[in-house]
Amino acid sequence: MKLTKTLLAGTALALVAGGASAQEMADEMTIVSWGGAYQNSQLKAYVEPYMEMHPEVSVTWDESSAEAVAKLRAMNEAGNITWDLVDVVAADSIRLCDEGLAMEYDPEDLLAEGDDGTSAEDDFGDLLVDDCFIPQIVYSTTFGYRTDLVPEGADAPSEICDIFDLETYPGKRALEKRPINNMEWALLCDGVDKEEVYDVLATPEGQEQALAKLGTIKDDVIWWSAGADTPQLLADGEVFMGSTYNGRLYSVIEEQDQPVGMMWDAQVFDLDGWIIPEGLDEAHLARVKHFVKFATDTQRLADQAQYISYGPARVSSAPLVPEEMKQHMPTDPANSGNTFLYNYEFWADYRDDIDAKFQAWLAQ
């Protein structure tokens, strides 16, 4: 079965490829992204260059990535998909792929080879977390702190457990209003080995342990829900330290010149990338495929790193990243001494359960 299927698929591909050149491509694309500095980096790195090469194409942006899964589900139920390309985090891609809302694709067919000749599959490697996800960047959730509020006589915080050290570092902390990441950090600082964190977190006792550890600082935490909250709280001096995405901290430090420092310890890596919604008509699909091949090639992903401090998802892009940007990348060896990778499988299973406990704990 498999052989014939491959053969048939191959023939079909050849036919599609043969037909593609003659096939009409739609002239408009609706791209969904996060807005802000990140969307701007996409615009500069590949959307504008693409539109220069193909002046007939017009692009509409929709800044709905935060609600992408819910909205795609609703669109699918209504039978009217109005998006052509959607930027989502990897966990959302897995959910969309599970629900059949994102299109499965073949990396060798859809994505360009690396500049150094490596196949797309090898170039992206493990970052192809499911059959639908087209990775763009690696970002991390990490901590920033006010350099001017470090208590006299104390060193600047440099370890994850400094969050829980209210004696040395008094002041408020900003943490995300969800269990993901916080529970892991709490266990790490409660003496659990890094390798065993998820095993422990899978047990009710481990979840209690993590909440108990978070309980030691609960009164000093401001819980955030939007990525812009922590930079704002840091800039206002409302909190001493807080977690957020590293790109947000980069713009607070480098572009707004705030007295904020980065603490890379135990940063949690996560991925962001494209998915193509299932059920596009042929003309739109052809356009999107054409665009994606361009937008995720080695040079374009490296270009994106000029505008925002997120690591390109291709191995082959890394050498092309500008030198002055490298030090701000979460993947830079100086920053990635101690890292965590978002455990998609674990959180897909335990999200509902732990979230219920976490929210009940918050409301107490």
Binding site: M1, V69, C97, D349, D352, A356, A360, A363
Partner: protein, 566 residues
């Protein structure tokens, strides 16, 4: 209308005895009773009025009522389990979870074929997500098991191909399965319906395959698997059945069937190959064993109990969840204490909405009184001040409160500067209930002032003067004469403010922290983040019911006629 005005009780010619019927009934000019004539006219009038509002009515029905009804329906809907695993649910009927043992072989056989079809249609992960709301770990159990289903069939196919090369060929299996003699078209139609239910799509068209009755009797499991393969290939992938390689599940079914089938007496197409396959005696891997190897959790009776508990088409599970209870195989029970949250949030939402309504009355009443009693020119200026924030974006107003109330904010800075508050102990006024109440009171204040103002404007100032001239003190005149007349305005304002605040979302989200959030924040979370729409719908239904209940209670106590918006 015209005939009634002419023949009504006030016509220009006086009513004569002729126009009064036998029983003293009034008759109109055309001899009918006045009552029916009037009714007819009124009916026409009502119809015309209805036609005038018809566009709005249809608009509201289509864009508002229907989607809400559809959304609320999700709070009980649960047909995904039976639609995705129809055979398994049926086989599970006889199983009793209280024995504490995994079900027998039959259930695992049914599960394999159900799951294979579901995996091909990519529906099994949806089911996993659904069941994961009830039991942690089922999401990955379904996802990973869906991937491994091919393996066992591949092994069988290799063994079969050693006996006869043709086993892997589509047209060979097609000939074998089609057989001769009368065919089972009804069975194919049944399987098409199963597939339609699973994918929630209508699949028109011809499958182009039907097994013979003889084959179905001889090889029941194979027939089931092959028919599923045929319907899926023909209707979903739109390929020709005979040209495609059969699914691995077909070979799993075949080896199962060959254990017991009496193929020696069969004489249809490819009978020899079938007999040769039987003679080869390919060892059977029991499917229970296969699932146990895939993931040990499949032997866990709790997994099966969850599937069984949630197999009915409608469930009370979401509603129970929404009131901190749960539906377990042993009946309904409270959730563990560390997971109880919704009742608390409902109570908090009620309490805070009441406080906000109360603060709005306290702050709004004097302002409305001023507005109604100042000279027009100054009242207009004041009115603009009331309306100005009303016209400002909600987000801007909420963010402004953030700037005002935060610890490094304006109010704290002023208090520290005045020396009223120590710099190290600045007041915490935001990210808690206080912040939510302040911000929401400010935002909702116009909804209280405007109805109050229009009611107060209708109260003649002479009443107060009359009361005073009769010797009432200022307070008595206000309390006994003025206030009772302004109550309808308070009622209208309170209903508006209370109902608006009970469903408020964005302000509590921004300034509420952990202690100032409302139930609507959890509803939003389940709609957009956890995607548990059933639970969100149940929470929404309860909120709607509570609002209607309060409205009813208000009507009973105060009387809805007493509410005046102007």
């Amino acid at each position: 209308m015209s005939d009634t005005t002419q023949t009504g009780p006030i016509p220009d010619k006086p009513a004569t005895g002729d126009e009064t019927g036998k029983h003293g009934e009034m008759l109109s000019a055309d001899g009918r009773s006045l009552k029916s004539s009037l009714n007819r006219a009124l009916r026409r009038q009502k119809l015309r009025a209805l036609m005038l509002i018809a566009p709005l009515l249809i608009f509201v029905l289509v864009t508002f009522i229907a989607p809400i009804a559809d959304m609320l329906f999700r709070s009980v809907e649960n047909d995904i389990v039976t639609n995705t695993l129809p055979g398994t649910v049926e086989a599970l009927d006889d199983w009793d979870h209280s024995v504490g043992e995994a079900p027998g072989e039959g259930v695992y056989d049914a599960l394999y074929f159900d799951l294979f079809l579901a995996a091909e249609a990519k529906e099994h992960t949806k089911l996993g997500t659904r069941l994961n709301y009830e039991q942690t770990g089922l999401s990955s159990l379904f996802r990973s098991s869906g991937r491994g289903l091919d393996d066992v069939g591949d092994d069988y196919l290799d063994a079969l191909e050693e006996v006869d090369e043709r086993w892997g060929e589509g047209d060979f299996v097609y000939r074998l399965m089609t057989g001769t003699g009368p065919s089972e078209t009804g069975f194919v139609a049944d399987r098409v319906r199963v597939l339609e239910k699973m994918t929630s799509e209508t699949l028109p068209g011809d499958v182009g395959f039907a097994p013979s009755e003889e084959i179905r009797q001889l090889l029941p499991a194979t027939t089931l698997a092959y028919t599923d393969f045929a319907t899926f290939t023909a209707l979903v992938e739109e390929d020709v059945v005979a040209e495609e390689d059969p699914w691995e599940a077909v070979y799993v079914g075949l080896i199962e069937d060959l254990q017991t089938a009496d193929v020696a007496s069969y004489s249809g197409p490819e009978a020899e190959a079938l007999q040769a396959a039987k003679a080869a005696d390919i060892p059977l891997v029991p499917l229970k064993q296969f699932f146990a190897d895939e993931d040990g959790d499949w032997l866990d009776p709790n997994v099966w109990a969850t599937i069984q508990t949630y197999s009915p088409k409608y469930t009370s599970g979401y509603f129970l969840n929404a009131v901190d209870m749960q539906l377990t195989p042993d009946g309904i029970s409270m959730r563990p204490e560390n997971q109880q949250i919704y009742l608390k949030l409902f109570k908090r939402t009620m309490f805070m909405s009441l406080v906000i309504t109360g603060s709005c009355i306290l702050l709004g009443y004097p302002v409305a009184w001023l507005l109604a009693n100042l000279p027009a020119s100054r009242a207009n200026l004041l009115m603009i001040l009331v309306l100005l924030p009303f016209w400002t974006s909600l987000l801007v107003r909420t963010s402004a409160w953030k700037v005002m109330l935060q610890q490094q904010g304006v109010i704290n800075d002023v208090l520290v500067w005045l020396g009223l508050v120590d710099d190290m102990n600045r007041l915490v006024m935001i990210n808690n209930q206080f912040g939510t109440i302040v911000a929401m009171t400010h935002i909702l204040l116009p909804f209280m002032i405007l109805p109050l103002y229009s009611v107060m404007q209708g109260i003649p100032p002479t009443y107060l003067r009359a009361a005073k001239s009769l010797g009432a003190t200022n307070w008595t005149a206000f309390w006994r004469v003025y206030f009772p007349q302004s109550v309808p305005g308070i009622g209208a304002g309170s209903i508006l403010v209370f109902i608006l605040s009970i469903g408020y979302y964005i302000t509590p989200e921004i300034v509420g922290g952990t202690t100032g959030t409302f139930i609507s924040n959890r509803i939003a979370y389940h709609i957009s983040s956890s995607l548990n729409w059933g639970l969100a719908a149940a929470l929404g239904s309860i909120l709607l019911a509570v609002v209607l209940l309060l409205y009813w209670a208000y009507d009973r106590i105060v009387g809805i006629d007493n509410v005046k918006l102007g």
